[in-house]
Symmetry: C2
Subunit: 141 residues, 2 copies
DNA sequence: GTATTTGCAAATCATTTGCATAAAC
DNA sequence: GTTTATGCAAATGATTTGCAAATAC
């Protein structure tokens, strides 16, 4: 379906369309679960055991640099990734570290005032708390 | 000036007021530069070479858990810390990774809707771009 | 006095790198 | 054919942990 689109996007970014790189990109486009690099490696390698951990990491770096993939850093935990599709914000679970999409909402002008000489590239909302799975089991910690 | 306040806050969190822990907390309260754990260790140890790297890390973890310190994760780089004082948002520089405070702005209700069964603890704005120092030198990358 | 914290060095975890081989363009 | 990417294993960087000795309460 978008095999061609992926190839095109990679080409335009000066990246060759190798099976390993394609697989990472396709996987991220098909899953909005914000997987970690390790999870992506597992999944991609299970379908076609031709990739290596290092290559997965290198490809993720390349894709982030090319602007095709977004990296979400969470405290103390491994980074998580998602294909840049429709704009959205993120909800990060305090308990399990999962990252979920939250419907996009334009940050109003007043919030952008105090930026001074800084050059703004993007502005994202990060919600934190307990995800729907963890909320009921709230007890420890 | 707030030596007493620090001691009190630690006590209320069930944390003993050791010189090393106190030093970390006092340093964070006196500097809003969002230092990394390594920077905090350096600074604290320079004034009084009695602490160790491990203890600094452990104390930072304890202070974050106690809710006295906030941890800011940035992609690929070391975590940065700040004492929870006045509420504020963060600006993270794409180039140098520095984290700066941005005046607080209450996120309007509409943005808080799509949260479903999730339990919201906090909501923060993350601005990304080039800091005032890096903006003029924009060239490479 | 007792429970917590420290410091050390070793361990772990996520991620990157060097380099020879293989594949994309 | 040339340039870029791969896979491996080893390196790095950040952070954590085990444990005996020290210290806050």
């Amino acid at each position: 379906m978008d095999a061609k689109a992926i190839k095109k996007a990679l080409g335009e970014s000066g990246l060759r369309c190798t099976p390993q790189r394609y697989a990472v990109m396709a996987f991220l486009m098909a899953h909005n679960s914000h997987p970690t690099a390790a999870e992506i490696f597992e999944a991609v390698n299970q379908m076609d055991p031709r990739s290596s951990r290092a290559t997965t990491y290198n490809n993720l770096r390349d894709l982030v640099q090319a602007g095709l993939v977004r990296e979400v850093a969470a405290e103390g935990r491994a980074a998580r990734f998602d294909a840049k599709g429709m704009r959205h914000h993120h909800f990060i679970c305090d308990r399990c570290g999962s990252v979920e999409d939250v419907e996009w909402y334009d940050v109003p002008r007043p919030a952008l005032r105090a930026l001074g000489k800084r050059v703004l590239r993007e502005c994202e909302l990060i919600f934190r708390g307990l995800c729907a799975k963890c909320a009921p089991r709230y007890a420890s910690r």
